[in-house]
Amino acid sequence: MDKDLSRLESIAKQIRRNIVRMVGVGKTGHLGGSCSAADLVAALYFYKMRRREGDLKWPDRDRLIFSKGHAALCQYAALGELNVIDKAEFDRVKTLGSILQGHPDMNKCPGIEANTGSLGQGLSISMGIALGKRLDKSPARIYCILGDGELNEGQCWEAAMAAANFKLDNLVAIVDRNYVQATDATERIMDPGDVEAKFRAFGWEAWTIDGHNMREIVDALDKADTVKGKPAAIVANTVKGKGVAFAEGKAAFHNGALTQEQYDEAMAGLE
């Protein structure tokens, strides 16, 4: 695999530009949580995940389940860069008849592996796929990106318990730990505490990285391959809205709207 970090970084920047393009001007869009995951998603699609060009249904493909479905713009942005979807679709996002729904729909948008959006379910879905793929003795690996706010949902921890119980070493959870949820800081809404320690207590191999350091991201994804007999959880410390200076760390841009000036400033910052 191509470990050209500067290439991955430039793809991540393009993903952020695509996200800003989809958020657009004067309409709400999940900017913050999409931008915080951009580096992770770039590394997954353009470095780590096994896929077969032109065959989205290849049974042995690696899969990315975007459990934090509200940040689908990040996944759409990457699918556009992969030419799985036409970038012209970006301008029709969330409009009537668009393949790019407010939350991802596998029957409408190519490359989407599961319908997510009701938070807390993606890790369970990923675990189910991992169980099925293991039955088939498939080498496919299942990656699941969760939000840290999402960890409020109890089902995440049902899945954490079950994945360890089933010793699913073909499953990797990546927590986009951006410290901000819909209306405020995670610590002020529902403090998730030490996320790494929680996953470890559930029986996972877990460690923490800087989710905007491409070297650390690709190394973590490689390290996850070596974990045997249990699932791996990568807690990626990130900044909500990363790359869009005025939005960084602000709950207001969880699903806020951009003015024309903000839009221009965001794009200029991503040159």
């Binding site: 596998m106 369970s124 189910g128 169980l131 049902e158 079950a162």
Partner: protein, 311 residues
């Protein structure tokens, strides 16, 4: 004749299907000995997933297994399968139309001892309301077999409502199960009783008791969704009164289906169903059915009322 209960038929049929199709997998939430998913576990331990007491995780995991190309049957008590895991069914499984089969076991009042928390009187209403969901309520063990086979062979999310107790066998191997089509168990020209599950026998007993006075047709409605209105209208064609009998709330189940299908036609309709209330504990199933007025006597009275209103 008392024969196998429906849940044993469910478990045994899964084993039969599992032998033929390696993609059949079964999930349970620490209730496999009640759903009889345990039979599959004995036969194919590697294809049975014990999910623990976590129905939401079970349902989403079933979605994942379907996405991996498996045919998952996820079983729990009907009240948990429909209620506890509703959001998982709706959001991931039904919106995408995933090939997940849900078994709602110990449905209705059939878990008589456990009381209201464990008795599903609204599961059909919940399941019917979700777009893309198919809903079945078999009348006996043999029909359960046929429906489980249908579920395994056909794509899409499906819900099977299974009774806990041994019910009389009212069909035979040759009785057809036709998807989406009610089955006439007994012909009659004056009135028709639409029923499913345990209430079909009550309706047949009522029809027998009314012989010579009112000629009653009895229809087993085991596919509750999709169910074309024309099928209900055809079965009710020419009768003077209609009765719906079901072990379910009067809201959202077969009563609603028939009332909706027959709207504007003017034929009087009466309901024998659980009123808008929860279940309760009892020492045996019949005691409970009597408390909720789910009896052949109630069906007789309802038929008389419906036909009387027409006169």
């Amino acid at each position: 004749m008392n024969v196998r209960d429906q849940r044993t038929a469910y478990g045994e049929t899964l084993v039969e299907l599992g032998r033929k199709n390696p993609n059949i997998v079964v999930l349970d939430a620490d209730l496999g000995k009640s759903t009889m998913g345990c039979l599959f576990k004995q036969a194919f331990p590697e294809r049975h997933f014990e999910m623990g007491i976590a129905e939401q995780n079970m349902m989403s995991a079933a979605a994942g297994l379907a996405l991996a190309g498996k045919i998952p049957f996820a079983g729990s008590f009907a009240v948990f399968a429909s209620g506890r895991a509703y959001d998982q069914l709706r959001q991931t499984i039904c919106i995408a139309g995933l090939n997940v089969k849900v078994c709602g076991s110990s449905s209705g009042l059939s878990d008589f001892g456990d009381g209201s928390t464990h008795q599903a009187v609204e599961d059909i209403a919940i399941m019917r309301a979700i777009p893309n969901m198919t809903v079945f309520a078999p009348v006996d063990d043999l029909e359960t077999e046929k429906i489980v086979r249908y579920m395994a062979e056909n794509e899409g999310p499906m819900y099977l409502r299974v009774n806990r107790n041994a019910l009389p066998r009212l069909t035979d191997e040759d009785t057809p199960f036709i998807f989406g089509k009610p089955y006439v168990m007994r012909e009659g020209k004056d009135a028709v009783v639409f029923a499913h599950g345990v209430m079909v026998k009550k309706a047949l007993d009522a029809a027998e008791a009314l012989t010579g006075r009112i000629d009653v047709k009895v229809v087993n409605v085991s596919t509750l969704k999709p169910l074309p209105e024309s099928e209900i209208a055809a079965a009710a064609d020419g009768v003077r009164g209609i009765v719906v009998a079901e072990e379910h709330s009067v809201i959202g189940g077969l009563c609603s289906i028939v009332a909706q299908a027959m709207r504007g036609r003017g034929t009087p309709i009466e309901f024998v169903a659980v009123q808008d209330e929860f279940g309760t504990s009892a020492q045996n199933y019949n005691e409970l059915l009597e408390k909720y007025n789910l009896t052949s006597e109630a069906v007789i009275k309802a038929v008389e009322t419906a036909v009387g209103k027409a006169e």
